[in-house]
């Protein structure tokens, strides 16, 4: 009996769908636009986060020691820095590594290599490269180094690539884009709601004779309302599927540009999509189904007297 009702409700839902096929297509288009704006929002956020991460990973403080400073002293400074709670890692680049690095860097300029050789002794000092978890903590590291006299005498100079400005800027843009994205999404969601209400209203109007008969022959309220709810859910599902396909196509097309934007990274939209496919589309499907059901309930309450 329940199965019978469900299959008949499904049948009538499909009939509703095809009887006003153009209206159905318009409704689905609006749903796709809504969902796609959500997806775009998710994508933009992912790319922005990736960009911020990238810039952050390039920020560090380099502490250059005087050439006379001995290994033990450097190790002592290193272990003290590592103990700070906000420091992620401290890498030690020795004099000889620094020299090798320099040689490697200038391997195509014989002049510089020549003059390095002429110096005989390695003129470089050791270096500690400090990374912190948060960009705003770099200044703290620098302050500590300056404020501690035992350290200050050992240190030749320190440099801090100040990318915090870029990061701030990126975060700011990210926030703005998210804000605009939400605005667009809410706008489309409202339009979807209105369009679905209207579609169901017209479906009710088209089926007024059937509805009259259903009521007089004792069809249950579920049975009278079911096909309209079913129709709305059908819109939601079809809209989601189309968005799903469209998203993969757009991700595929965008990925080359992402590489251009971020440089060589492991991050691609396709990978991101694959990793989060359940969250993104599951969430969207649930969300749009809810909107559809709410819209239909509104339309039924407003336009169909039981």
């Amino acid at each position: 009996m329940i199965f019978l009702s469900i299959s008949r409700i499904a049948k009538f839902s499909l009939q509703n769908f095809f009887r006003n096929i153009w209206l159905s297509l318009v409704t689905i288009t609006i749903i796709v636009l809504t969902l796609f704006s959500v997806t775009s929002l998710v994508f933009v956020n992912a790319v922005m986060n990736q960009a911020i991460k990238l810039v952050e990973s390039k920020v560090d403080v380099s502490v250059y020691f005087k050439p006379t400073v001995i290994e033990e002293q450097i190790v002592a400074v290193q272990s003290n820095l590592v103990e700070l709670p906000y420091v992620k890692e401290v890498r030690h680049v020795t004099k000889s590594q620094a020299l090798a690095g320099l040689r490697e860097q200038y391997k195509d300029s014989p002049l510089i290599l020549e003059s390095l050789k002429e110096l005989g002794n390695n003129p470089l000092g050791d270096t500690l490269i400090v990374n912190t978890y948060e960009t705003q903590d770099y200044q703290k590291v620098i302050d500590i180094l300056k404020a501690t006299p035992e350290y200050a005498v050992l240190i030749d100079s320190q440099s801090f690539d100040d990318n915090s400005y870029i990061i701030d800027k990126l975060e700011q843009i990210s926030k703005q884009v998210t804000g605009i994205g939400w605005g667009v999404t809410v706008f489309f969601a409202l339009i979807s709601l209105l369009v679905i209400v209207n579609t169901i209203r017209i479906a009710i109007y088209t089926h007024r004779d059937e509805i009259g008969i259903m009521k007089l022959v004792g069809a249950s309220n579920t049975f009278v309302r079911g096909p309209f709810i079913g129709e709305a859910i059908l819109y939601a599902i079809l809209g989601s599927i189309i968005t799903f396909g469209l998203t993969y196509i757009v991700a595929g097309f965008s990925d080359p540009y992402i590489v251009g934007l971020l440089g060589k990274t492991d991050f691609t939209l396709l990978n991101y999509l694959n990793a989060n496919v359940l969250y993104i589309f599951g969430g969207e499907l649930i969300g749009i189904t809810l909107i559809s059901v709410i819209a239909t309930s509104l339309a039924l309450r407003r336009y169909m007297r039981i």
Binding site: L4, S5, V217
Partner: protein
């Protein structure tokens, strides 16, 4: 089968459609309800179908007090009543078979039963040979017979017909009334609302006459009074 006890119906806007109506219809009866336009005949039908609620009094159908019937119980009530209205039309895009089948489908009838019942009721109204036609391919009288067939499909205990002959000429009207008599012979209680003097006088059955919402006469083997 149908019982009204001191029933009044006052529509919003203070329109009194029925005043203190008492009537009792036995199972298997054939009752005509007559009266001038606006005297509350359709209102009475709507009360039986629980499409409207009485303002005062009590109504029971088949021993079930439906005065304060709950929303979700209405389908159960309506499954026991067949309805024929003058403006309660066929679906133009469905064949005669599909029209009758539709009423059964939405009532939750099994598929196999539908294939058995539909030809059966169409045979009763004499249209089994035209099952695959669309409504516009048959006459108005035949259409109304299909409506009767549809109202019979779920085997109601009561058949309520509000002006079933309203749009028909006298020959077609007679056909419909003959049909209702046949249905009544099967044991179904028939309540016929009509303006048609000829029809009522030839029936020789119980006649209830309404005037301004009041029952002014209720006679076995009655005549059209007005």
């Amino acid at each position: 089968m149908v019982s009204f006890k001191n029933v009044s119906k006052i529509y919003t806007g203070h329109q009194t459609a029925l005043k203190n109506v008492n009537l009792h219809i036995e199972p298997g009866e054939f009752v005509s309800i007559v009266g001038q336009s606006g005297t509350g005949k359709t209102t009475l039908v709507k009360l039986i179908l629980a499409e409207e609620r009485p303002s005062h009094g009590k109504i029971s159908i088949g021993g079930w007090d439906i005065t304060d019937i709950k929303h979700r119980e209405i389908p159960t009530l309506r499954k026991q009543i067949g309805v024929v209205f003058q403006d309660f039309k066929l679906l133009q895009r469905k064949t005669l078979f599909e029209n009758v089948a539709f009423a059964l489908e939405v009532g939750g009838e099994q598929h196999s039963n539908i294939y058995e019942i539909v030809p059966q009721v169409l045979r009763i109204v004499g249209l089994e040979g035209k099952m695959d036609r669309f409504p516009h391919q048959i006459s108005g009288g035949e259409q109304q017979r299909v409506v009767v067939a549809r109202s019979l499909a779920h085997r109601p205990k009561i058949l309520v017909a509000d002006e079933p002959t309203g749009n028909l000429d006298s020959i077609n009207s007679r056909d419909i009334i003959e049909l209702l008599k046949k249905i009544n012979d099967f044991g179904t209680t028939v309540i016929l609302v009509t303006h048609n003097r000829e029809v009522v006088n030839e029936l020789h059955r119980r006649v209830i006459t309404l005037e301004d919402g009041v029952v002014i006469s209720d006679k076995q083997r009655g005549k059209y009074l007005l």
